[in-house]
């Protein structure tokens, strides 16, 4: 597995190197904006080579089974949140999100409980961030 990571990192380093060539590297007397990025990219590629050839046994504790599908779903939902937040407004989107989350994380076994908790947390957050701290939570279609 480590070898795979090594290849990925090497690839990333190459990308940085390639993209960084647009920046002026300068020279030792006058290092330009591209100087450090190139340095970082080169180091990354060197270290990843070590990773590729290393024969260490992978540490058992860090390598779980495959990434869980739950996490992926939650991630997508959160992405959706970030995209719809400014259109639909804080209250609606957060309420929907929290209802889903409380159910998904097991905080509540039934939808009714999740809805109640969602209500409570959105109200709390609204009071805290918009009223008390005078934040600027998006108003969206509800106008609040």
């Amino acid at each position: 597995m480590d070898r795979l990571y090594g290849f990925i990192i090497f690839f990333l380093g190459m990308i940085i190197f390639w993209q960084g060539r647009y920046l002026d590297v300068g020279n030792l007397q006058e290092p330009g904006p591209g100087f450090f990025p190139i340095l970082v990219a080169i180091l990354m590629m060197i270290l990843s080579l070590f990773l590729i050839i290393s024969r260490r046994k992978s540490e058992g504790k860090f390598f779980f089974a495959k990434p869980s599908i739950h996490v992926l779903i939650v991630f997508v939902v959160l992405l959706a949140y970030s995209f719809t937040l400014e259109y639909l407004g804080f209250i609606i989107v957060s309420f929907l999100l929290m209802t889903y989350l409380f159910k998904a994380f097991g905080g509540s076994k039934k939808w009714r409980g999740a809805v109640l908790w969602a209500l409570a947390s959105v109200v709390l957050a609204y009071l805290l961030f918009n009223v008390l701290l005078e934040g600027n939570l998006p108003r969206g279609i509800l106008g609040v």
Binding site: I16, Q29, R56, F75, F102, F105, G106, W117, P138
Partner: protein, 494 residues
């Protein structure tokens, strides 16, 4: 003068809020002082600089107090710096001695923090005067040293730690180059032209990623059911612990100052040394009270002394300090050796508030323990959604920019994947923040020396620091050191 600042009602209030939050965050596993400080950065905009730092610092050392509560009662460390406390603390709890364990932990933390504070008070201004001789080459050498010390601290492979740090260095480059003004890696995004942002990245890597990881593991928490009596340790307990406390405080004080080290390293080292020095080493791991007193004093001493480099030199010694650096810069203050003289209310105000804070924490941690215990019973299923919500909103309110939520989520995913692959998040974050400092100083040093690389080795202070860095780098690669690290890691895994 400092106490005058510290006792202004606003500052007292925020000191209290800070330490309270810190204890809370410390008690709750899964959310740490890093993510919470990042979350609260936006709120500090409205406060005066010293008030902001008073509160944020309170969160930091408060978390060192709180972290031990879960270590002792549930065998789950609330913070990385309380991992070692689990070893003896939980054993003491199992023998019905949870009370004295909690008590000595609180008292040890208090003594450690206070002693370290005295050191900070004496050493800080002295160091600032020394630092006036520092130039870019010295600063660059220090940053190199910090990154190299990170390797010692990493739990997994050193190679991966450094690769992680390189990743952080890269992300720190995104945005507008301060020296030339050119845009780097922004691809036309207005949001990115300001940089990826400390708040979104740290909250993503530490907050969101942590939640993702916990989503997978259903952990059962068995809060210890015995009644907690007798929080005050007996005289015998004190006799056994006082040496540990004093030693722990000194070790913590010195290790906290080292760039890249900090409370975690301090607690481990102190425990290891205490075990070696003890007349009854076999007791360690079975409920030796010194095994609780030592790391707890060390981690508090370290969290206090880790503020020294920031306040005297303007260099953050770990991620949390880097966040405090960010907070100061938000208020237009660039920490430097001149901070002590130019902004005395910040320097002395924060120090005196820390005395107050430690007292408050002692009061908070002893009688209020039953409340914290109840808090532990809040199911993760309720806690994590709320943490996520707060992260999402918090990030948004920094710049009223929903793209920053996107950045946070991306780094959350990245942090999750990194964790699964064995790459740690802390080196990444540290490098992210210290990267720009590193680069600016490197470039300025080279400009000064007209391209002469030897400047880093010819200027005396820089040479010494670079020398230490090189030695440490080579040391890390030796098998002997690796074995010792593996042993420490095994202790931690138990």
């Amino acid at each position: 003068m400092g106490f005058g600042v510290a006792f202004i009602p606003v500052n007292l209030l925020f000191c209290f809020i800070g330490v309270l939050l810190g204890t809370l965050v410390g008690v709750l596993p899964g959310i740490g002082p890093g993510a919470s400080i990042a979350l609260l950065l936006p709120i500090t905009y409205a406060l005066r600089p010293e008030t902001a730092i008073i509160m944020l610092a309170g969160i930091y050392y408060g978390a060192q107090y709180g972290g031990s509560t879960t270590s002792i009662l549930v065998n789950i460390p609330g913070e990385a710096s309380s991992v070692v406390t689990c070893l003896d603390g939980y054993q003491m709890a199992r023998r019905g001695r949870a009370g004295p364990a909690l008590g000595i932990s609180a008292f040890g933390s208090f003594i450690g923090g206070t002693l370290s504070l005295i050191g900070l008070m004496l050493l800080g201004p002295m160091l600032a005067r020394l630092a006036l001789q520092f130039g870019p080459s010295e600063y660059f050498s220090f940053t190199c040293l910090s990154i190299i010390i990170l390797g010692f601290l990493s739990k997994g492979s050193i190679l991966k730690c450094f690769i992680s740090a390189l990743g952080g260095l890269f992300v720190g480059l995104i945005g507008t180059d301060s020296i030339s003004g050119s845009l780097r890696f922004t691809y036309g995004s207005l949001t990115l032209s300001d940089g990826a942002g400390i708040v979104p990245v740290v909250m993503g890597l530490f907050g969101v990623a942590e939640v993702f990881i916990n989503l997978e593991q259903k952990e059962d928490r068995d809060v210890f059911k015995t009644k907690i009596k007798n929080i005050f340790p007996s005289v015998k307990d004190w006799i056994k612990s006082i040496g540990a406390i004093i030693r722990g405080s000194f070790i913590g004080f010195f290790l906290g100052m080292l760039p890249g080290a900090g409370p975690v390293m301090a607690s481990f080292t102190s425990y290891a040394i205490e075990k070696r020095v003890s007349r009854h080493p076999e007791e360690f791991g079975n409920g030796a009270i010194a095994g609780v007193a030592s790391p707890e004093s060390a981690n508090n001493a370290a969290s206090t002394s880790s503020m020294i480099p920031l306040f005297s030199l303007g260099l953050p010694s770990n991620v949390i300090m880097a966040l405090l650096l960010g907070a100061l810069m938000i208020h237009g203050i660039t920490p430097s050796p001149f901070l002590v003289t130019e902004q005395p209310q910040v320097f002395w105000g924060v120090i005196s508030s820390m005395y107050v804070g430690n007292v408050l924490l002692l009061l908070l941690n002893l009688p209020l323990i039953p409340i914290w215990v109840k808090l532990l019973k809040v199911p993760y299923g309720i806690l994590f959604p709320m943490i996520l919500l707060f992260c999402l909103i918090g990030v948004y309110t920094v710049n009223t920019n929903s793209y920053e939520i996107l950045i946070m989520l991306i780094f959350g995913a990245l942090g999750y994947l990194m964790r699964k692959a064995g790459f740690e998040g802390a080196p990444f974050c540290f490098a992210l923040i210290i990267g720009p400092l590193m680069e600016t100083n490197l470039r300025q040093a080279l400009l000064q020396s007209r391209g002469d690389l030897s400047i880093f080795f010819t200027r005396p202070i820089s040479a010494v620091v670079m020398g230490i860095a090189c030695i440490l780098l080579i040391l890390q690669l030796f098998p002997a050191v690796q074995k010792r690290r593996a042993a420490l890691k095994d202790q931690e895994d138990q």
